[in-house]
Amino acid sequence: MDIRKISKKPVVLVGCFAVLNVVMYLTIHRFWIGGSSFLPLIGITGPGNKFLFAFIVNLGVIAGAFLGAFTSGEFRLRWPKRINIPKAILGGTLIGIGITLAPGTCTTAFVTGMPMLSVSSFLSGAGIFIGAYIMFTIIWRRI
């Protein structure tokens, strides 16, 4: 059994990711959230700096992704093409509305909320599926 080969399998890696998510909850009694974590960008840090903490976790995620990409040789600095910027701003704004209207990002809904059996996360998950399907059909038709 080649351990190096197994450790590169996505299923094993997401397994480690899930274990770390649980360990984080067990050790520091906080869970990882997505949406509200970005509220410090508009000056809202939440009760007991809850959102600020989540924002720092997400900054750590960027650092971790950099570490992973750098050590595997996948890091490449890519600058956006001007033509893609309006679409990115529109999409980002939609995400911004979605995450604050009723927090339920992919991270919150799929990674933390559904395993917590949170009813709102199941509803958010259904909404994400519907919204993504609508956008997919619009983009698909254009292509």
Binding site: T93, T100, L101, P103, S121, Y133
Partner: protein, 180 residues
């Protein structure tokens, strides 16, 4: 725990989570697009693994400490219409960009600066909701916080057990099909 130490630990956990997300190439926006194109086995497999481990872990945590266990998540508005609506808007946004929150953070870490533009574009959307829409919507909020066992009137271990077992069977079916 001191907030500085808490943030330091949170940042370290974030680095670990980000590392595994990057190496696994996890992104739910890509996964949803794959599902719509009829090629969703990969994301279903990954989601099943995440669900099984996390659901069982969170359930067990409740027996380790009374502070832990199952809690309603992301329910500033409670459970109801706004979750669905925000999900629809968010879902449209992530598919337009080709990256969910995880995917966006991952792509920034990988050096894709387009996702930094997306990241900062959250600001006008969040400001619009918080400063303009929130005061208008507040009267219509349902603030009832619920987890599934409370809604169904069934003990949490049963709900987690059934869902986790379903995920295991689903995963086994996907793996069997893949091998076949």
């Amino acid at each position: 725990m001191n907030f500085f130490i808490l943030c330091l630990l949170g940042g370290c956990f974030g680095i670990g989570l980000g590392y595994f997300v990057q190496r696994a190439g996890l992104c739910f926006a890509h996964g949803l697009a794959e599902i719509f194109m009829g090629k969703g086995k990969r994301i279903c497999r990954l989601f099943s693994v995440i669900f099984i481990i996390t659901a069982v872990g969170f359930l067990i945590s409740g027996y380790i400490s009374p502070d832990l266990g199952l809690k309603p998540i992301g329910q500033i508005r409670g459970s109801g219409f706004y979750n669905l609506l925000s999900g629809i808007i968010f879902g449209a946004g992530i598919l337009l960009n080709g990256g969910c929150i995880l995917g966006t953070l991952r792509q920034i870490g990988e050096g894709n600066m387009l996702f930094l533009v997306i990241f900062f574009s959250f600001i006008p959307g969040m400001a619009l909701t918080v400063y303009l829409l929130n005061p208008l919507l507040e009267s219509g909020y349902n603030i009832q916080k619920l987890i599934l066992p409370g809604l169904l009137g069934v003990p949490a271990p049963w709900v987690t057990g059934v869902l986790a077992l379903g995920a295991v069977l689903w995963l086994a079916t996907i793996l069997r099909r893949k091998r076949g």
